[in-house]
Subunit: 770 residues, 2 copies
């Protein structure tokens, strides 16, 4: 005992010291922290302090001999010790008791334990791993504890949760897709492919899926929720079909429905729903995609003939990339600047016939084929030009702006700007649907990659079977966070859809939905792109063969980040929506209000960022939903407040708002991302709270933990910059993410099965034993 | 003056306080730091200290009235002050002098200034921005200072630098590619496409480009460097052509050249170089791609007939994805497990005829077409099976393992394992070339996106022209770091090539090259994938049209991350190479040596992580190449040491090395990445050091700064965890990256022009005014 002749008060610290030194070399701040703490312990004698100081001197680390003596003492204590939930502190206390045999240990108060636990958490989670190594007799228990986290859940019940209220209609669509007529074709020639997709669309229309969202009077079921579910389900089959379907029924039909009035509904909706009247949605122009307000096409009212004249005045005013336009559409909803009696009334939509019943392009109209695209070659995109094309006045979709029989313009909405945003707002359905089809593509890719990784082996230990790809930590790291995020996005999109399809939404709710839809569209379509790339690579050469679907999934979904609003532009809209709410809180308060808020913010952050929470590396804390929600919300709030301050600063220096926003652009994009992430997490948490099945709740919590912690890990640079996380906590999060990836690996197959993707859509011969 | 009745000693601190409070709310650690410093200033009276303490109390931030009085005083001082390079500290000193009018200011020593500068840098760079706002009369000068960073350089000289020594051969290839016969076809039907690519290959062979790397005796020029340059140049045109070219001349020809001997060279090399003998490289099998050592195809020596019998014993032993195999190859270099007289000699390569002169598949051989792939559809990939196919003994490529006329096997390399790695090592040329063609694809994408962003406008301030895409900060952030990284990778690949083509490399050098090639292949092909995705999105809908090239660039290059070694597998090789060197340093030293090293490491990190450097937010420091190199090297060293310690720890607990490596897999991937990044930065720095043109040096330094800082920013989570960067320094880095993006935007066109990509390869009608 000569080499470790120490007091019980020192003994209590031994396990911490041993692990601190043997695991990883203590960092300067850890040393500093330990030394500072030790100096303050009134229960240590000066002699003890001096000894402990020697042991924490980085220039004179404990000798190997000393360390070996320590570990021997620690092991022998641990061997006598049976409680399997002990920490390093527990162990130290046990050692102190042994060292102090017979004494009363009155110095061992709760206060001492707390102080020790602070040191323990400061050294970081890393220690626990070695801790297990030291106490190998305890290791088995710990492993069985990990096993206790294993969960067997009902795939059917989970699928029902994902299906929301639309299991029946989904099943119907899947049954249809299993029909040989829908067999996936992998056509490369665009003529064949476009024709095939048109035929498929007709079948869907015959079955009533196209009209689903239209009123019953027009052959529909007035069921937007079911329409969204159908759209999402088609995404498992062929995205050209999905997009063509969406163009005809969602965009073209939806614009007539939402922007037109009774006259248009009576005249067109039934034929649109049955595909008797194929149409297109002519909004985007060569020169203006994102900036719809600056479209150049004109619609000029000619009072003499009571007609509207549609015209493309410049080369850049061609309607571009218009789906269905190159071959099949007979009518177009054309967005144009409306002029009535010389007065500009802003962008309006007008129905313009473009082909006759024999599919001949009408006079005054030029249509160019966009030819091959990166993907979606089953959709006939085209470029349309109008040369003074005349249509009857009543072709104006006049819900928000009418020209009466006397040629007088009127609108229920006074402000040009508000009118514009109201019209566009009615079209938000596209942004609700597009990410859902994108998510279907991502889920297909994840399912293929997970299934492959559970079959494919490569490399391994000598004389043993090769290792399954999904048993590689790097492969788990590749796929499991994607799996978790797919669930998170799925639930958030369901919530968005349910809010969207509710009747009688107020203006405020509508604005929130628009912001959320814009954000979710960006967030989830980028996820689709990322996920499919990762999954393709995770399938190696197999993933590159067209028969294994990634070719189509990647190529077809690639444009999702651009159409229905470029993602970067959408996120700026989101940020403005978030700031609008923020600004409202300070309305009228001016600068002082902001300063007060900033002061308040400071106080709040001091409170939130309390020393212990910042450094808390305990797994229970790291997997506490409250920690996740707080961290997400803190990020959103902090970014919002700081961008608000920056904007104010720039404007107070005389910058106009356009340039002030430009200066803060990347900051605004972060605000938007943080907002969406918070919404996604909140949706997920609500789903878990509502869930009554115990096993389901358990697996969902694991999935949600991974989503939350992986997201926080992705922003760890920011959190560390904000001093919201300590270095040791950040490292501990990485370990828990690793652990969760490993944990979910055990249920990976069940989790992708619960997507409910029809086997036909995944039945690619990707297995090596085909 | 009542409200700001302060001493000169307080005045000196005023600008710091004002900016600290008004810009962004001070963080807790900043407050702590300031308070701690202030307490130590012996030149402050107790009264001063008390006042300053009040001002830095976060629960009682200065009133708006007080702040306004401060700014008034600061502004009036600044107005009298003409030196345009002043900092906040300079300004404070000036204010103190004014306040102290007539006094001698002896307290204002250099020591005081240093202490103040420490506070200034702790508050962070953010302050300087507002600082400019306060002193608007100085702003113009500062802007002109930024202008001084503008640089006009010679595009031709920069292109020459990128071209290395191969301008002439590149120009020749470009001239050929401009010939109408090479017009880019965008063929979608694979039969047409494959035929076209074959014809192109024949033309290249006719011009002598195929044989370039072969000895002169066989129609070549013995010029591997020129071959690499040709390969890279073809990457601008069509990657199917590049890959087909590489399969025929690089892989098939290269294997005969490197693994065969005189007999094979005499018999085949000339015909391979002229494409009279089309061949393929049959290594990968359905069951084993990455793990070549476990290939299942067998080559069994039959002494009775003096033949080798090639056989595919299992379904998973089919040679898979073999380029040139589905249609055109007449001979294959087949990798198989060699058995001679019942003894297993490991993987060897054997030449096996697979088609006759009429392109009929020979007996005993089955070939299946891999059909359509995600991309590269101009290459005829196929699956080959051998059913007891007999070839003469001499078809064994026998440089590293021979069977003599008596049927006896011998090899100059005793160890089976070493023999295997030596053979594979000779094929490293593929890994040197592949990333270069990938980089060509990335550069094409970047050039297209930059040119588009300099034409396309969208949104803008009222009544003014819309804003150019490249003037959006987010767009600069998207493209400029990619532009910088393309240069960094380009120089590093050139250095790799030059090391590779050097004669008489020692074993150590060869091993280093193999490690570097594996790493560069992974690093740069992932860059290609990322860059093309970003650039496609940056071109919006235009980027999705096939005519604008992203479709082909993305699809064709996607497999680059998988073939010639899966990137994840390669990075593990790299990590093992790095660890091998690391281990050598400790050979024989055992555990104690490691502990000593760890202690040394600790001392080193304390030295490196000195308080000032960690918090230094000065732009000169942030753009100092020494800081960049130190940060990169620190990361590499720290990750290597820590993974070494973890491996040792796991093994000391009884884990075998396979499982220990598995446990550390994601850590090892980081080691590899850090190693490669350090190599890339070092190459770049060397290029700049060697560069004698002043303007060129200047622009290269800007580009290198952006590469270095953007990379550090990407790892900021890690650096913050390591406490290698303070939060304020991390934030300052972001600002400098923003600034560099803005700066490079001015030379973006010149920088992409210097790539030297033939206009024909970029002449897509992407401009809206086509």
């Amino acid at each position: 005992m000569s080499i470790i002749d120490y007091s019980p008060q020192v003994a209590v610290l031994l396990p911490l010291f041993y692990v601190g030194w043997s695991d990883s070399v203590l960092s300067p701040s850890e040393v500093e922290l330990i030394q500072a703490k030790i100096q303050k312990f009134e229960w240590l004698t000066d002699e003890d302090k001096a000894l402990l100081n020697t042991w924490s001197n980085p220039n004179n680390i404990p000798s190997q001999e000393l360390m070996q003596a320590w570990v021997k003492a620690i092991r022998s204590t641990a061997a006598q010790y049976t409680d399997d939930r002990q920490s390093l502190v527990d162990l130290g206390i046990e050692m102190a008791k042994i060292q102090d045999r017979g004494a009363d240990n009155t110095w061992l108060t709760d206060h001492v334990r707390e102080a020790l636990e602070e040191i323990e958490s400061a050294i970081g989670l890393e220690s626990l791993e070695l801790h297990r190594g030291i106490l190998d007799q305890q290791q088995r228990e710990r492993e069985s504890q990990a096993k206790a986290e294993d969960v067997k859940f009902s795939v059917e019940k989970l699928q029902a949760l994902l299906d929301d209220d639309y299991t029946e209609v989904r099943e119907k669509v899947y049954t249809l897709l299993k029909d040989p007529i829908f067999e996936y074709q992998n056509l490369v020639n665009k003529s064949d492919y476009r024709e095939q997709v048109l035929q498929w669309c007709k079948i869907l229309a015959d079955y009533g899926y196209g009209a689903m969202a239209f009123p019953e009077a027009y052959g529909g079921q007035d069921n937007m929720g079911a329409y969204c579910a159908v759209f999402e389900s088609l995404g498992y089959h062929d995205l050209s079909l999905t997009v063509k379907f969406g163009v005809q029924f969602g965009l073209f039909g939806g614009s007539v429905h939402a922007l037109g009035t009774q006259y248009h509904h009576d005249k067109y909706l039934k034929d649109i729903g049955s595909l008797a009247l194929p149409g297109c949605f002519a909004m985007t122009e060569t020169g203006h995609g994102s900036n719809v307000r600056e479209l150049e096409t004109t619609a000029t009212y000619d009072a003499t003939t009571d007609e509207l004249i549609i015209n493309s005045p410049t080369p850049s005013s061609s309607k571009d990339y218009i789906g269905n336009a190159a071959l099949h559409a007979r009518m177009a909803t054309v967005f144009a600047q409306l002029y009535v009696n010389g007065e500009h009334q802003g962008v309006h939509a007008v129905l313009v016939p473009i082909r006759d019943e024999k599919d001949q392009v009408l006079e005054g109209i030029e249509i160019e084929d966009c030819q091959y695209k990166l993907g979606l070659n089953g959709v006939d995109n085209g470029r349309i030009r109008f040369n003074q094309v005349r249509v009857p006045r009543r072709n104006l979709l006049n819900r928000f702006g009418n020209i009466d029989e006397n040629g007088q313009y009127s609108s229920p909405i006074e402000s040009l700007s508000k009118r514009f945003f109201t019209m566009l707002g009615t079209l938000v359905g596209g942004r609700v649907c597009v990410p859902r089809a994108g998510l279907s593509a991502a889920k297909s890719g994840i399912a293929i990659a997970v299934r492959y990784a559970l079959k494919r082996r490569q490399f391994g230990p000598d004389q043993e079977p090769e290792t399954l790809l999904l048993d590689y930590p790097s492969h788990q790291r590749r796929l499991m966070p994607l799996l978790a995020k797919s669930y998170a996005i799925d639930f958030a999109l369901t919530e968005l859809t349910n809010r969207y399809i509710k009747e009688d939404k107020g203006e405020h709710e509508m604005r929130e939905i628009e912001t959320l839809a814009a954000g979710m569209k960006a967030y989830s379509t980028w996820f689709t792109t990322d996920a499919l790339q990762e999954c393709r690579e995770a399938c190696g050469g197999k993933g590159y063969l067209a028969e294994n679907r990634f070719a189509a999934l990647k190529a077809d979904s690639d444009i999702f980040t651009t159409f229905e609003g470029d993602n970067t532009v959408l996120l700026q809209l989101v940020a403005k929506g978030v700031l609008y709410d923020f600004k409202k809180e300070f309305a009228g308060g001016g600068f002082m209000k902001l300063v007060e808020f900033a002061a308040g913010r400071f106080v709040t952050s001091v409170r939130e960022k309390n020393f212990l929470a910042i450094r808390n590396t305990d797994e229970r804390h790291l997997r506490d939903v409250e920690f996740h929600l707080e961290a997400f919300r803190y990020r959103q709030r902090d970014l919002t407040v700081s961008v608000g301050q920056r904007l104010r600063k720039f404007m107070s220096r005389g910058l106009d708002s356009y340039h002030a926003f430009l200066r803060c652009q990347t900051h605004l994009l972060e605000v938007a991302e943080a907002f969406i992430e918070t919404q996604v997490l909140e949706s997920f948490v609500e789903v878990i709270e509502r869930c009554e099945d115990k096993e389901l709740k358990k697996i969902l919590k694991q999935v949600c933990d991974l989503y939350a912690l992986h997201t926080i890990e992705g922003h760890k640079g920011w959190y560390l910059e904000q001093e919201y996380l300590s270095a040791s906590k950040s490292k501990a999060i990485r370990k828990v993410v690793d652990k969760l990836c490993k944990l979910l690996r055990n249920n990976a197959r069940a989790l992708v099965d619960a997507y409910g993707i029809p086997e036909e859509c995944l039945a690619a011969p990707i297995a090596m034993d085909k």
